[in-house]
């Protein structure tokens, strides 16, 4: 039993890594008043660019760098559309997601699967510090030991964070106080996109070591839900990520039990998403959206 528990916790941490990274990125973005529905697409893009580059160069590090560059570029496009042009954020975000998914699928087919093959790399291996719980990928350690404190520091301790929160709540007041609203939002969107890119790269370069169509599989949307579930605070966001991952890891274990052999696996697969819906239904009401959520800012 202890083995199973440890196993569940261990795989929860793995499952939670890309969710936490993407949700942290979305949190930084949304705190500036911008909803980035491109999160799924940015993850998809960096997952593909990361493994494609790693496969071509033979270097996982090069793959990671390329994934970050692709995330930053996608973020830049999204920022240009929503901040500079003032395009509806829902439309721009969904458009970006559809664009990235289609581009990557096409490139994947041309580059790797046209002759029936599949792109593969030797992924990062878990670093074992003793026991299944402390046998994790370096990016998992980095997420919880570095990225989480970093985002907390960025938003609530740094000057940039104060500016991000100010433009997310009342851009008019921030503008009159001499804070560049557009500049701050660009910065928040791009920082956020880098985290989303890390999340995507983790999946191909560490988790699976290959790329298949629909590899992100809605993780970006779960990250969006986590930000709302977390009421834009890091602590609650992590609790949400942990709950989702535990349910997910639990259902993976359930599938191995003989008594569940007759249960269609899709039902078990749906459990974590059901948990998201229940979680949002319970805690998603009267949430404190940032004051300028979804509102483009323009001087008179």
């Amino acid at each position: 039993m202890i083995d199973v528990t440890e196993e569940i916790i261990s795989s929860s941490l793995r499952i939670a890594t890309p969710l936490a990274l993407a949700a942290l990125g979305e949190l930084v973005t949304e705190k500036s008043g911008v909803l980035n529905l491109g999160v799924e697409g940015i993850m998809y893009g960096s997952a593909f660019v990361g493994i494609a580059t790693a496969a071509q160069t033979g270097s996982l590090t090069a793959g990671l760098v390329a994934a970050l560059v692709s995330g930053a570029l996608a973020g830049l496009i999204f920022a240009f559309a929503t901040v500079t042009l003032g395009v509806n954020q829902h439309v721009a975000g969904l458009g970006l997601t559809l664009l990235m998914i289609s581009l990557c699928n096409t490139a994947n087919r041309i580059m790797f699967t046209a002759d029936g093959g599949q792109v593969r790399v030797d992924p990062w291996q878990p670093l074992n510090f003793g026991g299944p719980i402390f046998s994790q990928y370096w990016l998992t350690y980095a997420t919880f030991l570095i990225a989480v404190p970093f985002v907390w520091w960025l938003l609530w301790k740094s000057g940039l964070g104060l500016k991000i929160r100010a433009v997310g709540e009342n851009p008019e007041a921030a503008d009159v106080a001499g804070i560049g609203v557009a500049k701050t939002r660009y910065t928040a969107i791009i920082i956020g996109s880098l985290f989303m890119a890390l999340a995507g790269a983790f999946i191909t370069l560490a988790f699976v070591g290959t790329f298949t169509v629909n590899i992100i599989n809605g993780r970006g949307w779960v990250a969006l839900a986590l930000v709302i579930f977390g009421r834009w605070t890091i602590g609650r966001l992590l609790i949400g990520a942990a709950l989702f991952s535990l349910v997910n890891a639990g259902q993976l274990q359930l599938r191995l039990l003989p008594s569940f052999a007759d249960v269609p696996f899709e039902i078990l697969l749906a459990l974590p998403f059901l948990a998201v819906i229940v979680g949002l239904a319970i805690s998603g009401r009267n949430v404190p959206y940032p004051g300028a959520y979804l509102k483009p800012y323009k001087r008179l």
Binding site: S158, L162, R165, E169, N170, V176, A177, P288, G291, L300
Partner: protein, 510 residues
């Protein structure tokens, strides 16, 4: 919908008059209305005049059931009315067109009007259409029944609102600053509509307005509200614009302290606006010129809506100028962005303290929002320094607040003090201060005024924009008067009087 006929009957039989008796209303400690009585008669245009915050809108909200009085009552023909909601008001024959229209923008005119008739089942759109056409002809309010509301210009949307109110059977119609959103031609046709409704349909109309010219044209009676009290109610043809302005701004309060003025005309001006213009369909600026010297307070007076807000937006950098130049310390600004103005030493206190700060952030965070870099350490904000800066500001400016409290939880007076502390801790060379005491209690008002006087004593040039003429006369060295987006005159303090300024405000003298 036989309500149109209801109007006919009402006007034929002579609609009962409405009497608001001894209405008092307080919001917390602020008294919005104090023992106000007002009567409305059928077939009469009753203009309600007063500065922002004088209580006009509050009074009309009470009449329309949007707000409940603390004491006093509303009577129709001597019988007490219970008006607890707009529905009650409409049942009593009272309609209102608010400043923000309550139309469903993506629906047609017919649908909007059918909606107001509130039938649950089987809406007869064709029947409503016929009724609209009939009512349009009857009231002289032409509207295209099949048009989508959002595709109509503002003036026509307003007509739809008026028609909607009339068709729901009202014999009294409240129009809250109806001309504020209209251009000159549309204003004329609206005034014509008002005349027709009064004379032909016998509707009693309450017209809330700031504009003397309109009141002179259509009002039968004028009531002036000042600080929550009716200071005058008289027939319109017995009173001049100048008298109205004087009533609106009030008599000099005896004992109001005069600021010690130390004239220093030798110094060269620090802020110079030369022929500044902003092109807008309504509410632009044209040919605004003035200069302010160090240590001087230049008051900007004017009836609300004559370009003061636009001028402040220009000087805060949120509205770009289309013509003219702004010079600070002899150097011309390339463009008037918030950053360039701040760098040049211009500080601002905006007219709306809620819009000038971030409610969700802490007091201490709001206080340093305009100088985040100053408190940015190598790795993070120097929280301790921020807090000690905030605590000294709290002491110096007598702010009743905790540094870590959310700004939005402060009282109006304390919000204003935090914003003034932010402004003055930059040691600005020029301070633009707009409506600094609006909605504040007497204590806070006096304190804020003393701060402004003190700043000018220390050499800051102050531009004080205020609708409170007392405030301007108490503080300003010179008074510039705005009328229709221009500065129409600048009067020295020694020559500034209610008469001279009132004439300029009314657009009479030039």
């Amino acid at each position: 919908m036989n309500s149109v006929e209801g109007v006919v009957i009402a006007s034929r039989g002579g609609a009962p008059s409405i009497f608001l008796r001894n209405i008092t209303k307080a919001y917390g400690e602020t008294i919005a209305l104090s023992d106000v009585s007002l009567d409305l008669r059928a077939g009469e245009v009753h203009a309600l005049l007063g500065e922002n915050g004088a209580g006009k809108t509050t009074l009309m909200k009470i009449l329309y059931g949007l707000s409940q009085p603390d004491s006093g009552q509303i009577e129709a023909d001597g019988v007490a009315l219970k008006i607890e909601s707009p529905r009650d008001a409409r049942a009593a024959g009272i309609g209102m067109v608010t400043q923000h229209f309550s139309l469903v923008k993506n629906m047609t005119v017919i649908e909007n009007i059918a909606l107001a008739s509130a039938k649950t089942f089987a809406i007869d759109l064709a029947g409503v259409r016929t009724e609209i056409v009939a009512a349009s002809a009857r009231f002289g309010l032409d509207v295209p029944p099949d048009a989508i509301v959002s595709s109509l210009p503002i003036a026509l949307q307003q007509r739809v609102e008026i028609l909607k109110a009339l068709m729901s059977g009202c014999s009294y119609l409240i129009l809250d600053e109806p001309t504020a959103v209209l251009g000159p031609n549309d204003i004329d046709s609206l005034l014509e509509v008002i005349r027709r409704l009064r004379s032909d349909a016998g509707i009693g109309i309450v017209l809330i307005s700031h504009k003397m010219a309109e009141i002179e044209k259509v009002a039968d009676r004028v009531s002036v509200l000042r600080r929550g009290q009716v200071v005058s109610s008289s027939l319109a043809n017995g009173i001049t614009s100048k008298e109205l302005i004087t009533l609106m701004v009030g008599e000099q309060q005896s004992g109001a302290e005069q600021r010690q003025r130390s004239a220093s005309p030798s110094q060269s001006p620090i802020l110079v606006l030369d022929s500044v213009g902003v092109t807008r369909e309504t509410g632009g600026l044209s040919d605004v010129s003035f200069a302010v010297r160090p240590g001087e307070i230049l008051g900007i007076a004017g009836v609300s809506g004559n370009g003061q807000t636009e001028l402040v937006n220009v000087l805060s950098g949120t509205t770009q100028i289309d013509s003219g130049t702004i010079e600070v310390e002899g150097r011309q600004l390339g463009s008037n962005t918030p950053q360039s103005l701040m760098r040049a030493g211009v500080g601002i206190l905006g007219e709306d303290r809620h819009a000038s700060a971030v409610h969700a952030l802490q007091v201490v965070e709001n206080l340093i929002l305009d100088c985040v870099e100053k408190f940015a350490g190598k790795f993070q904000l120097r929280r301790k320094e921020m807090l000690s800066h905030c605590e000294s500001a709290i002491t110096q400016f007598e702010i009743k607040a905790n540094p870590k409290q959310a700004f939005g939880t402060l009282s109006g007076g304390n919000m204003q003090k935090v914003l003034l502390a932010r402004l003055f801790s930059r040691n600005p060379k020029v301070a633009i201060i707009s409506q600094p005491t609006r909605g504040l209690d007497v204590m806070a008002t006096n304190y804020v005024r003393s701060l402004i006087a003190q700043a000018s004593k220390q050499g800051t040039a102050v531009v004080l924009v205020s609708e409170d003429l007392d405030e301007i006369l108490e503080l300003a060295d010179r008074v510039a008067v705005m009328y229709r987006g221009s500065v129409v005159g600048i009067v020295d303090h020694s020559e500034a009087s209610r008469e001279s300024i009132g004439e300029l405000m009314a657009g009479i003298a030039k």
